[in-house]
Symmetry: C2
DNA sequence: CGCGGCGATACCGCACGGGTATCGATGCAG
DNA sequence: CTGCATCGATACCCGTGCGGTATCGCCGCG
């Protein structure tokens, strides 16, 4: 199967509309129609149901969408990592490490220090992203290693080493009555009057319905808490980075958060291995 | 990057010889040379060192070989799984389950029975292969789920569920002096006079040097043991399938063997999920 | 019933992939 | 040192196939 055909199919399958898909691909609609039916002929199976008013996926089409995305990601990863390796000669970064903005800050700092101290350590570029984006970046080669947080991030498909396990705390505006308590339970903060839990974006960038402010990163969230508009349940390591206007209380029944270093299992290059080694020695 | 170019590059990188690679690909040598240098131009980096007498990989080339193989596997998997889904309509197998020949026989039987008993269970095709081949089959889509055995098989990159953990036993010809002992240690069977441990093929099909007969599967191995030409250390579940000419003795310090059901993490189709569910309920 | 939206079809031109012939470099035998 | 064999690169030609424009056929809707 040709990579171009697959890319075309994924575009149509996502848009469910030949015209828009063609526009997104930067080609005209007729060649796209032809490419898709040619792909269907080659696979010997219809991928799309066309009713001249709506386009929908067949079961085979759904499978090809899932598997095809993975294949295109792998292809993009091969290209990006090769380019990066070639450029790594003259001081350009050889490895891209991705982490969630605002998470694992001192762990990340210690890791970079420890790695830089090793002999002939590769140049590491640090990439900070929003929640849920790391897996994508690792899969399509924009990043090579990542710091993920179970159980929030999905580590399926990656090799991992556990680095740190910690409890979670409630983050509240300083002076809030609950901050006088020695510890809390999840139900205590689930429905505080005037202090709802925030809403994080889904993978597609949309927000689920419900109360609570929409947030994109920890900076936004902490500011909203300081303003008395929200509260949050976060790993206890955030405590080192809070101002005086915020207070924390341990939550005894929250899931423990495990920070792991993760990488695509087939691409344990020397540079990645060096980072992993430095991380496990912390 | 085009899939065809990548396939060409992988061929050259594996053969380290343009002529042979072209032959393997079924094209002439000049277009292959052109395709590779075009790929290098597009990536902006040399992938191969040519010295008119030998071809060798650059560092970037080594990366592209590793990542490119993964990408081509993913592409092939997308195609195969789509075809299989389309054919699954009329009683054709919808899922391919792969297991090592001779291993986990009653577990496999129970699994298939339990799965077949579920309502609207998919048709399962069973594929038996040699050691170390399962990962490849799962990656390139010739199989969808597999029974793997830690620590022998590499489960990196797959989602897994543990099914069974067992010890290992020494398999010896009936009547051998050691069969009188209640248990053994690994050193006891490591160097038996006239009964060497067998040699299994590497991933590329070649055998490592050393004493001991070359074997490809359990049938060969057990026959050689019965003939008094070898001994072996195998998971204790083989005991149910041995003739009277073979005897087993537990080995107390051998690694425990864990049987897991494994599948590519992104392709948890309904059919695969059904098999996994049946397996975990055993 | 006419219009508008959408995918399919028809047809054309050119870019690119593949083929053959040949060159240039290099290691090797005599 | 020279002729030869090996191997990748280059030159040139041809046909396929991809992408473009124009248009059709189908269907829902006002």
């Amino acid at each position: 199967m040709e990579a171009r055909e697959l890319q075309y199919f994924v575009a149509v399958a996502e848009e469910l509309h030949f015209g828009r898909a063609a526009q997104r691909l930067g080609i005209a609609q007729p060649p796209l129609s032809r490419a898709i039916s040619q792909l269907e002929r080659r696979l010997g199976a219809p991928l799309l149901e066309r009713t001249s008013r709506a386009v929908s996926l067949t079961e085979a089409g759904a499978v090809l969408l899932r598997e095809g995305r993975a294949a295109l990601d792998a292809l993009a990863a091969a290209e990006r990592r090769t380019r990066r390796t070639a450029l790594a000669a003259d001081g350009r970064p050889a490895v891209v490490l991705v982490s969630k903005a605002g998470a694992s800050r001192e762990l990340l700092a210690k890791l970079l220090d420890a790695h830089a101290a090793e002999p002939d350590a590769a140049v590491v570029e640090v990439l900070l992203c929003g929640p849920g984006e790391q897996e994508r970046l690792l899969r399509d080669g924009r990043a090579d290693v990542g710091l993920l947080h179970r159980p929030f991030d999905d580590t399926a498909g990656f090799d991992t080493e556990e680095l740190l396990s910690e409890g979670q705390v409630a983050v509240l505006p300083a002076g809030h009555p609950l901050t006088a308590r020695p510890h809390l339970r999840l139900v205590d903060v689930a429905d505080l009057p005037g202090l709802p839990l925030p809403r994080w974006p889904d993978l597609d960038g949309t927000y689920p319905d419900g109360p609570g402010p929409q947030v994109r990163d920890n900076v936004q969230l902490l500011q909203l808490i300081a303003l008395g508009r929200a509260c949050a349940v976060l790993p206890e390591s955030v405590r080192g980075h809070l101002g005086e206007d915020l207070a924390t209380v341990p939550i005894v029944d929250a899931a423990r958060v495990t920070t792991v270093i993760a990488w695509p299992p087939h691409s344990r290059s020397r540079a990645v291995a060096g980072l992993v080694r430095a991380a496990t020695r912390l």
